[in-house]
C-alpha cells in the first residue's frame, strides 16, 4: 500500500546531518543510529504485511486447515471403547486375563453396569457397529444383549436388600448417604454407579432421581462392594449379605448370547481399549492387529484397499499419459501459430476449462451410453453391430475417456506457457546446420519443452488421483477411485475412522507431489486461464 507515508526518513540524506564528518556509526535525521533506524523501518514493514495477510490466514486456518487437522486426528482417535465401557476397560486392565481366555465374573459385573448405562444413552449400538468393522457379529451381539440387559435377574439383589433394610428403597435416603464422604469411600463402586445413575436421570431423561426407583445395577454394585469386605459407616443401614441368594452375571451374559464366551471378542475389546489406535491405518492398507497384537495382513478375500490405491495410481497414470499424448500436439500448434490465430484456437481449450464439471460429466454420460450418440454413430457407420454395442460407460474405459477430456486443459496450459518461451530461432539454427525436421524437433525443441511436460503431468496427476465426481458417475464399479471409497465410508458405512485414515494416506501422497511441483515449477508460477 502506501509506502512512504509511514517510512521514517532513513534515506541517504539522513546519513550526515549538518554535513559534518562524524566518527562512529552513521546517524539518521533524528539522531538514532542509521542501522537501528533501518531495522525498525523493516520491522514495521514486515508487521504491516503480516497485518494485511492475517485476516485471511486466520480464516483459512479455521475454515480449512482446522478441518484437515481434525480429519488426521480422527484417523487415530479411538475413544469409543473406553468411553462406552469405561469400567470394563479398567477391570480388563487390572485383571490381566491370560491369552485366549474369557475374563471372570468381576469384568462381567463391570460390563453389566457399563452396558445398562450405555443402553440408556443408546450408545451401545454405536460401539457395536464400530467393533463390527473388525469382527462380524459384534453389532448384533451388542444390540441383542442391550435389549436383555435391563431384564437381567439381578433384581434378586434389590429384593433381598429392600427386605433386609427397607430404608434402601427410598431414593431420598440414598441422596443423603451419598453426600457423606465416609460412605463414598467405603462403597466406591456403589458411589460411582449412583453418580452415573443420577447424571443419567437428570441429564438424559430429565427426571428427578427422587421420584425414580433405585435401579437394580446400583444394588448389584452394592452387593459386590459388601462382599468385597466393605464396612460402611453407621449412617448406612447394616445389611448382612452372607446369606444372600446370588446370581452369576457371567452366566446371565452367556444366557443372553453365547458369543460373550468367545475369547476373540475379549481380545478385540482389549485391543481397541486404548484411546489411540493404528487400527484404521492398518485397515487402510489391508492389515489388522492379530490376536498376538502383531500387525498382519487380512485374509485374501478382505483385501481391497491396496488394490484400490494401486488402481487409482495406475488409472491416473493412464489419464496423465493420454493427456500428454493429446495435449502436446495442441500446445505445439498453439505456440508456433501467429498470436492472433493462436488466441482464437485457445478459446477452444478454455471453453471446456470454464464449463461446469457436471456439464462435461453429463455430456459423457449421455454420449457414452449404449443407446448414446457415439454408439449410434458407430452403428450407422457400420463399424459396430447394432446388437453388439460397445460398453463404454460404467467401467475403466468410461472413466479414462471422461477424465482425459476434463483434465486435458490442465496439461495444455502449462505446456503452452513453457513452449511459448522457446525461441523459434533455435530450431531454425538447427535446420541451418543440417538437421532435418525430426532431428531439429527431437534434439532441440523437445528437450526444451520437457519442463512443461513435467509441470503438466504433476498437475494432472494430482488432480486425477483425488477425483470423485466423474468416476462416481461414469466409473460403475470397476472404474472408481480411492475417493469414492472414502465418500462411501463417510456417508454410507459410517466408518469415519477408516475414511479419515484413507484420506490421510491420499493427502500424504498429494502433498509429496505438491512439494515436487513446487520444486519444479514453483507455486508462485501457477497460472490460470493461459
Amino acid at each position: 500500500m502506501t509506502h512512504s507515508a509511514t517510512t521514517p526518513p532513513e534515506q541517504p540524506m539522513a546519513a550526515l546531518p549538518g554535513g559534518e564528518v562524524t566518527e562512529g556509526p552513521m546517524l539518521a535525521a533524528d539522531g538514532t543510529p542509521l542501522k537501528a533506524s533501518l531495522k525498525r523501518a523493516l520491522r514495521r514493514e514486515k508487521l504491516r504485511a503480516l497485518l494485511l495477510i492475517s485476516p485471511l490466514l486466520i480464516f483459512i486456518l479455521v475454515a480449512f486447515v482446522g478441518p484437515i487437522a481434525d480429519m488426521l486426528f480422527r484417523s487415530v482417535e479411538n475413544q469409543i471403547v473406553s468411553e462406552t465401557l469405561p469400567r470394563t476397560v479398567a477391570a480388563l486392565r487390572a485383571e490381566d486375563t491370560p491369552e485366549g481366555e474369557v475374563p471372570d465374573e468381576e469384568v462381567f459385573a463391570q460390563l453389566y453396569t457399563d452396558l445398562v448405562i450405555a443402553e440408556e444413552y443408546k450408545i451401545h449400538t454405536r460401539l457395536g457397529s464400530r467393533l463390527n468393522y473388525e469382527m462380524t457379529g459384534v453389532s448384533s451381539l451388542f444390540r441383542s444383549t442391550g435389549r436383555d440387559v435391563g431384564r437381567f435377574d439381578t433384581d434378586i439383589y434389590t429384593d433381598q436388600f429392600v427386605e433386609a433394610a427397607p430404608a434402601l428403597e427410598d431414593p431420598a435416603n440414598w441422596v443423603a448417604w451419598m453426600e457423606e464422604e465416609a460412605v463414598r469411600e467405603a462403597l466406591p463402586l456403589t458411589a460411582d454407579a449412583w453418580d452415573e445413575w443420577v447424571t443419567l436421570t437428570v441429564e438424559e431423561n430429565e427426571d428427578d432421581p427422587l421420584e425414580e426407583d433405585v435401579p437394580d445395577f446400583v444394588f448389584t454394585t452394592l452387593y459386590r462392594d459388601l462382599t468385597a469386605g466393605a464396612t460402611p459407616p453407621d449412617a448406612f443401614p447394616d445389611v448382612d449379605v452372607s446369606g444372600f441368594e446370588t446370581v452369576s452375571i457371567k452366566a446371565l451374559f452367556e444366557d443372553s448370547d453365547e458369543d460373550w464366551m468367545d475369547p476373540q471378542l475379549w481380545q478385540l475389546i482389549e485391543t481397541y481399549s486404548p484411546e489411540y489406535t493404528d487400527g484404521y491405518f492398518l485397515n487402510a492398507v489391508d492389515m489388522m492387529n492379530g490376536p498376538d497384537g502383531e500387525a498382519q495382513f487380512r485374509p485374501d478375500d478382505q483385501r481391497i484397499y491396496l488394490k484400490l490405491f494401486w488402481r487409482t495410481m495406475w488409472m491416473s497414470m493412464v489419464i496423465t499419459f493420454s493427456c500428454i499424448l493429446l495435449g502436446y500436439p495442441i500446445a505445439y500448434l498453439l505456440s508456433t501459430l501467429p498470436l492472433r490465430s493462436a488466441n482464437v484456437l485457445m478459446i477452444l481449450v478454455l471453453l471446456p476449462f470454464w464449463t461446469s464439471l457436471l456439464v462435461r460429466t453429463s455430456a459423457w454420460k449421455v454420449l457414452l451410453q449404449q443407446q448414446g450418440v457415439i454408439n449410434d454413430t458407430l452403428v450407422w457407420l457400420g463399424l459396430v453391430d447394432n446388437f453388439n454395442r460397445l460398453q463404454l460407460i460404467n467401467n475403466i474405459t468410461g472413466t479414462v475417456i471422461a477424465m482425459t477430456h476434463i483434465l486435458l486443459p490442465f496439461m495444455i496450459l502449462p505446456l503452452y506457457s513453457v513452449m511459448k518461451t522457446i525461441p523459434p530461432s533455435y530450431v531454425r539454427a538447427a535446420k541451418s546446420m543440417g538437421a532435418n525436421d525430426w532431428t531439429a524437433f527431437w534434439r532441440v525443441w523437445f528437450p526444451l519443452s520437457v519442463p512443461g511436460i513435467g509441470a503438466g503431468s504433476i498437475l494432472v496427476f494430482i488432480l486425477s488421483i483425488g477425483y470423485y465426481i466423474t468416476p462416481e458417475i461414469v466409473g460403475g464399479t470397476e472404474g472408481v477411485f480411492i475417493s469414492n471409497r472414502i465418500a462411501y465410508h463417510i456417508s454410507s458405512s459410517l466408518n469415519w475412522g477408516l475414511a479419515a485414515a484413507l484420506g490421510s494416506i491420499l493427502l500424504a501422497l498429494v502433498l509429496v507431489l505438491y512439494w515436487l511441483y513446487d520444486r519444479i515449477v514453483g507455486i508462485d508460477n501457477v497460472k490460470l486461464g493461459g
Binding site: 502506501t2 503480516l50 483459512i60 480449512f64 471453453l351 457436471l358 451410453q369
Partner: protein, 284 residues
C-alpha cells in the same frame, strides 16, 4: 508450423496437413462433447440421442419442453436459487480477504512468505474429497454442518487460492512509485488504495472473483457433505440426477450453464486485454 514454405518437399507437405488433421481431431474431442449437448437439449422426446426427426431437421423434432421444465419445476428452481444465494456471498468473502492478503504478500519484505503462500494455496491442491471429509467432521463438531453459513465458509475457503493467484499476478507488474507519488501528493493510505491501486489491479481482482464464483457455483463434493437438503445447489441436483434417474432436463440445465461459462470466458478475456493495455505490457 506457421505457413508451409514454397520449397517444402512432398513428405513435409503430407506431414503438415496430417498434423493439422490430428490437431483438428483433438480440438473436436475437446469441444464436441460440450457442443453436442446444446442441440440434444431441444429434443422433443425424452431421449438422449438424436431422433430421426431431429436428423431430418423437422421442426417437430425440436421443442423447448426441457427448458420449460427447468424454469418451472421447483426441483430445479430451488437448487438454482440456492446456488445463486451461496456463490455471491462466498465470492465476496474470498475476494475481500484474498485481495487484502495478496497486497500484503506482494510487499517486498514478508516473513515466512513461502509457508504462508503454500497454506493459502492449499485448498486448491488438496483433493476435494479430503477437504469435504475434513470439513464434514470439523463443521459437525462446531455446529456448522448442514447450515447455509457452513457451505458459504467452505466455498469461500475453496475460492481463495484463485483470488490470491490472480491478484498477486496483477501486482507483479504494479509500479510502486505510483503509491509513493500519491502519498507525496497528500493522499492517505485508504485514499491511495481506492484511487490509485485499486483501479489498476481491478482486472485481477475481478477475474479472481469470477474464478471464486465459478468454483462455488460449480462445486458439488463439499456441498454434498457440508450441506443438507436445505442447501441443495444446482450441481448437487445434477449430480443426483446423473447418479439416480437421469432426466433430459439435465441437458437444458447444462446448456444454461454452458451459456454462463461463455459469458464468463468473454468477460475474462476482455479483462485480461484491458489489464495488459493498462500496464502497457502488450498491444493486445
Amino acid at each position: 508450423m506457421a505457413a508451409l514454405p514454397p520449397y517444402a518437399s512432398t513428405g513435409q507437405k503430407i506431414w503438415h496437413y496430417a498434423y493439422r488433421i490430428i490437431c483438428g481431431l483433438i480440438f473436436f474431442f475437446l469441444i464436441a462433447p460440450i457442443i453436442i449437448i446444446i442441440p440434444l437439449s431441444f429434443n422433443a422426446e425424452n431421449f438422449f440421442t438424436f431422433t430421426p426427426k431431429m436428423l431430418a431437421l423437422d421442426p417437430e423434432g425440436y421443442s423447448l419442453k426441457h427448458y420449460r421444465d427447468f424454469f418451472t419445476n421447483p426441483d430445479w428452481q430451488v437448487p438454482l436459487w440456492n446456488s445463486l444465494k451461496i456463490a455471491p456471498v462466498a465470492t465476496f468473502i474470498s475476494v475481500a480477504l484474498g485481495t487484502l492478503a495478496a497486497i500484503g504478500l506482494s510487499q517486498p519484505h514478508v516473513p515466512f512468505r513461502r509457508a504462508i503462500m503454500a497454506t493459502l494455496i492449499s485448498p486448491m491442491i488438496v483433493p476435494l474429497i479430503i477437504s469435504a471429509a475434513g470439513m464434514y467432521f470439523f463443521y459437525s463438531r462446531i455446529g456448522l454442518q448442514g447450515t447455509y453459513w457452513g457451505v458459504v465458509l467452505a466455498h469461500a475457503a475453496l475460492g481463495i487460492p484463485f483470488v490470491i493467484i490472480t491478484v498477486t499476478a496483477t501486482l507483479v507488474g504494479f509500479d510502486r512509485s505510483l503509491t509513493r507519488a500519491a502519498a507525496n501528493l497528500g493522499a492517505g493510505p485508504v485514499r491511495t488504495f481506492f484511487k490509485v491501486q485499486m483501479p489498476l489491479i481491478l482486472p485481477g481482482v475481478v477475474s479472481g472473483g469470477l474464478f471464486a464464483f465459478i468454483t462455488s457455483f460449480d462445486e458439488v463434493v463439499v456441498v454434498l457433505f457440508v450441506g443438507s437438503a436445505g442447501q441443495k445447489t444446482l450441481p448437487w441436483q445434477m449430480f443426483t440426477g446423473l447418479r439416480e434417474q437421469i432426466s433430459p432436463t439435465i441437458l437444458a440445465a447444462a446448456t444454461v450453464l454452458i451459456s454462463i461459462s461463455v459469458v464468463l470466458l468473454v468477460t475474462l478475456e476482455v479483462l485480461r486485454r484491458r489489464s495488459e493495455r493498462l500496464r502497457g505490457m502488450s498491444p493486445g
